[in-house]
Amino acid sequence: MVRGGILVKHAAFNTSLLQYLACPLSKDPLRYCEKSQELVNDSLGVAYPIIDGIACLVPSRGRLVEKLPKDPEPDPAAGR
């Protein structure tokens, strides 16, 4: 049943979670990229999406990020 009446505001990702979260595959700490709304694992080159303010850290949802040498970081890390 749809719960009528309560509108959940589109919440931003809670950055205090970053101190607990890690990549599900290699357990490395993650970097929050605010522009693309993703949590990036730089050492493996995988980015996990954040949907509606909820991080989706399932390996099958990870997006491969091309890690070529001398590639400038795509976005400045906003919340660290």
Partner: protein, 409 residues
């Protein structure tokens, strides 16, 4: 295709573009793939693929809409589980809530165990959305000041790939969430790594006796109608394996206890509906994808005839195994080193002679105190043969492992 193999493939493609020889590229690819499973036995056995996890998350999506506010089984189990938090004097500020009865844990926590931050985790998007709405509702209506003092956070993740840094959590609570996990030892071992030293792991899982009646009825109906059997009930952990699971995952001071609940339903259809609303429907990979109406009706009628009560209702058993384990820490009691004993069994026999406990003091051998265990055993056998005068007292005597009789009072 799994992420591991895709990564392997893409790194191979990258490197071949740059001009690295193919052999080296392949080695790198296998290393990348191996990295994911190389973290010791934490990730575990990838070949155990009993359950279809994607299907399970879709079923839980549906259940998120069907589920009622309060469900008798989920409420009872969650209440029992959270009660165990009050048995410890310690405070656990950061808690992880692994899937299953997510919002029940959230709702019934009431600040027990000193939990300040509750991170709820599930593979299903809608379940997490439901948990978020519950948290938002508390904020809006302001009920239960204790509940809104709890900081709620949600993530979507898989129990088999736990996305937490080592030593970051104080307590992991899983209320009926681990019985659909493929690699249970691996998942529990990752929980142990994610816990701080001396952190608590509390889990409630369905045990082997759950839905025993339904299992029997399904098997009989399928044998009659279809001539073969396909798994309709998921394989569940046995009680004897629960302790092994905890020790294999590396938990110290493991405790396991079992509870059985019998719920009555008007018919088998209501039972199935209830299971659907809890998200507990079949997700075993090897299941037959077709169930004919004949078989379904036959199952219901067999259930009724074999297990039906006098008032027409049918019982269903839910056996819940509660497991608790602590992540190792030097502050915990350790077993003594082998060979460090200071007291021998002979001394024990001297200090506590077996006959000192029995009320019948007419035994001629009661004076001698140091006896070997075999002597005691033969004594008790003689007493068994000749001791009819003790027969009226046998209801109140019990036998010690050493063979001597101990009088209960």
């Amino acid at each position: 295709m799994t992420l591991a193999s895709e990564l392997g493939r893409s790194s191979r493609c990258c490197l071949s573009r740059v001009g690295v020889p193919v052999a080296a590229a392949q080695r790198l690819a296998t290393r990348a793939a191996g990295e994911f499973s190389a973290s010791g036995d934490e990730v575990g056995d990838k070949n155990a693929d009993v359950f279809d996890r994607e299907l399970k998350s879709k079923q839980r999506d549906r259940a998120a809409w069907f589920m009622h506010e309060s469900d008798p089984i989920l409420d009872t189990v969650t209440e029992n589980l959270l009660d165990r938090l009050e048995d410890c004097k310690r405070m656990f500020p950061t808690a992880l809530n692994l899937g299953g009865a997510l919002d029940h844990v959230q709702r019934m926590l009431h600040g027990r165990g000193g939990i300040e931050r509750l991170i709820s985790m599930d593979t299903s998007v809608d379940m997490i959305g439901r948990s978020k709405r519950l948290a938002a509702m508390d904020g809006v209506t302001g009920e239960e000041a204790k509940r809104s003092a709890l900081e709620n956070m949600q993530i979507i993740a898989d129990e088999e790939y736990l996305p937490f840094q080592a030593g970051s959590l104080d307590v992991v609570i899983s209320s009926l969430g681990l019985h659909w996990v493929n690699d249970l030892p691996g998942a529990m071992s990752q929980c142990r790594t994610a816990l701080k030293p001396d952190g608590l792991f509390l889990a409630a899982m369905f045990g082997g006796e759950t839905l025993r009646e339904l299992r029997i009825a399904c098997t009989v109906a399928q044998l009659e109608r279809e001539g073969g059997v396909s798994p309709r009930i998921s394989p569940l952990a046995q009680v004897r394996d629960a302790g092994n699971l905890l020790t294999r995952a590396g938990f110290a001071l493991p405790t396991v206890d079992v509870d059985e609940y019998t719920v009555r339903y008007p018919s088998a259809m209501e039972l199935i509906e209830h299971l659907r609303s809890m998200g507990e429907v079949n997700a075993v990979r090897q299941r037959s994808l077709v169930m004919s109406r004949d078989t379904a009706l036959a199952t219901a009628s067999i259930y009724q005839s074999m297990f039906g009560e006098s008032d027409g209702t049918i019982p269903a058993t839910f056996q819940v195994i509660y497991m608790a384990g602590w992540s190792p820490d030097i502050s915990q009691k350790q077993p003594k080193r082998r060979g460090s004993a200071t007291v021998s069994f002979q001394d024990l026999q001297t200090a506590f002679p077996p006959d000192a406990f029995s009320k019948t003091s007419d035994d001629p051998k009661s004076t001698s105190t140091t006896k070997s265990i075999t002597e005691l055993a033969s004594e008790s056998k003689e007493r068994e043969r000749t001791g009819h005068n003790e027969s009226e007292e046998t209801s109140r005597t019990t036998r010690l492992p050493s063979g001597s009789w101990f009088k209960l009072d």
